[in-house]
Symmetry: C2
Subunit: 462 residues, 2 copies
Amino acid sequence: MEVSKQALQNIISDEDRLLFAENIPAEYLSDALGRRTGTADALVFARSTEEVSGVLRYANENAIPVTPRGAGTNLVGSTIPLFGGIILDVSHMNRVLELDRDTMTVTVEPGMLLKDLQAYVEERGLFYPPDPGEKASSIGGNISTNAGGMRAVKYGVTRDYVRGLEVVLADGTVLKVGGKQVKDASGLSLKHLLIGSEGTLAVITKCLLRLLPKPETTVSVLVPFADLGTGIRSVLTILQANANPTAVEFMERKVVALGESFSGVQYPRPDAGSYILLTFDGHESEVNANIERVRRLALDNGAIDYIVLRSAEQAADIWKVRGALVMAVEAVSEQEPVDIVVPISHTADFVRYINELEASSGMRMIAFGHAGDGNVHLCVVRDGRDQQTWERELHDNMEQAYAKAYSYGGVASGEHGIGISKRPYFLRETAEDNLAVMNTIKTALDPKHTLNDQKSYIVGGK
Amino acid sequence: MEVSKQALQNIISDEDRLLFAENIPAEYLSDALGRRTGTADALVFARSTEEVSGVLRYANENAIPVTPRGAGTNLVGSTIPLFGGIILDVSHMNRVLELDRDTMTVTVEPGMLLKDLQAYVEERGLFYPPDPGEKASSIGGNISTNAGGMRAVKYGVTRDYVRGLEVVLADGTVLKVGGKQVKDASGLSLKHLLIGSEGTLAVITKCLLRLLPKPETTVSVLVPFADLGTGIRSVLTILQANANPTAVEFMERKVVALGESFSGVQYPRPDAGSYILLTFDGHESEVNANIERVRRLALDNGAIDYIVLRSAEQAADIWKVRGALVMAVEAVSEQEPVDIVVPISHTADFVRYINELEASSGMRMIAFGHAGDGNVHLCVVRDGRDQQTWERELHDNMEQAYAKAYSYGGVASGEHGIGISKRPYFLRETAEDNLAVMNTIKTALDPKHTLNDQKSYIVGGK
């Protein structure tokens, strides 16, 4: 079905929030990586729930595909319009609607950026714990992929901070799920079904988020180890000791070296084979007690040093290297970002397997990530390969990597979502019955499959 | 469709795990309250996933209603068989299947009792934080109602400790959802949809639960206030101060008096109008620091005393009264248990409203509960009313109480579930679109509506 200009103009009053066909900038036809581009008939910048609902109702009545979009920082192709139709962008819906100090909640529109939300609440003595690496991502997007990030070890992931949502279903129905109450045992949890659903079931229009009081202090510690296995094994001991770290990241020395040359910061102890980077937050006495607790454990478990980063500048420098890893890789070559998650008991095994795969395949795979929760980030590097070779070799290697992760009881994505780039591996490794149930739900809620069709778990026809 | 003895005997090998019609003990036809009784053609005690699957497949093929059942401690009628058919009891499936110290997870069968799980892990230096009042409830039941309990303020509810599930769908399909990995952004979260679904979508056969290291120490504090409003308002201040209490309970003096005479324990400061009972856990230095932090806040906010319960015996006595409240009420009269949850900013308003309703209606309503999360327990007392008067007056008063809770942004149940006894209020107060989506999912996953039909959110026909 063709998109009618007139119909959309009737829903979106401002001309400048409605673009058609060849006037749609290329960036809106892709994701953050820009490796693949789709096509679309219209791009709509919605400003309200009513507009979102109007567009979805129109699209649904006319079986027009819709691709929802926030800040466009997605890494797995979720924002690529595969079948033409309408790109429904909510990035203009970026206001704070309410701060409620009594219930420690904030209500924001889905297009608000994570960094803006963090700044807004921290200026007011409050704290939004989820901390995905991409701070220019939108909150709606964070919820749609159940984003994780650095502080997940202590605080959990985005799911744990969503108290309520307003969403619009494929047919335009506006639904409010959850609310300011803390507990809920009242009917099916539609809220939890929607979180992480990658825009396949609904478009988020309001986000009611749980906040915490801002921690009094935050201190990071850099712990060098002779090798990665020793470092990661020590993490299990640390996690079992009630020392309550906020973040536990791991980096191999070769990976740090990349980040160093990109960022200009040098890590101490360049003789280390790997580093564990920890953060602790809370009241000062508690933080100090936990730092000493972990010092003993780390040194007893093979750490070759234990460097408490007391100054904020020093900590910022060390984290800067961690934050720059992906950009450091991308500065030299195209890369495929992977965020496989395995049970933490298998993190070291999985990274060792990746090192072997790298050696046997000749394809560079740079591993780092969240040691505290088994979420391993890989940058699989294209280097000088031509397009065809790159695609073929990448696919072969990824088939093996995902199969290994699933054999350890892991899953394809810890925080990026499945989208289209991980979909072949996710579909291959997921039990048919699970896929069937997911698709039954999809088809029940969006019978015409207008919303983000053929992404993530969606298989089969309409 | 009639239940075939032979068909069930083909699935369940032991004769003593299969009872028919008049041989079914009355307790299996009701819930923990025993006020209402259903009928059933067969009672099956399943021992394995295969048996559960076999029974469900048989029932589904023959459109026979199935009522799943665990320990039978449900308070809202979820375990009452409304339409005959089969009672599928999993209480014999009560083993620990695996303790995995590296991932800090335990896998248990659904019939395991909460108290047995708590004892099992605590003996091993581990900790299962969810702590619903009914310790003889089953883990499968806890998951089916997303049970909460005393420690939810710091640790969250059952949902937050379910890493994975094995379930059997209405047609007998065995599904594994979630796993030992910590994060998951891979397709729809069927796990979270199933948690809290009150046996309407599937029967749980295995529970993979997240554990924490056991806290070093636990200390309770009793804080008397002149009146309830002052006490509850002080809780908001305490929660915003990063003092991290594990439990925050509130009790009016008149409620404590009931518990005292039932349990034989006397509370200090009988001149108080209300008490806040707090617990702190963690490392000793941290617990002590938080106790002193809250002491200042409480005394600045109207507390008339601050009694740290240093001895375990003293703390046990004080908690014994809190734990005995429901039994204290039931010793004198039948009662309707209510567990409405409102945004914490409205807890005091809601309790005040209940006091007014009690005064105007002449029906005793005993309020206490979880001040830290707005989860208000009410015992609505029958006293000398005849059956008809009791039912009518209860219904009239509850319609008002639920309407008021929803007007504050609350919901019908924080932890007990909806079942049949809260269903009229839940259906009345929940938006039609939300009910429609829940029912669409139900019908998509259980087209013949064999599983726990017409309970909780389920409306309309098959």
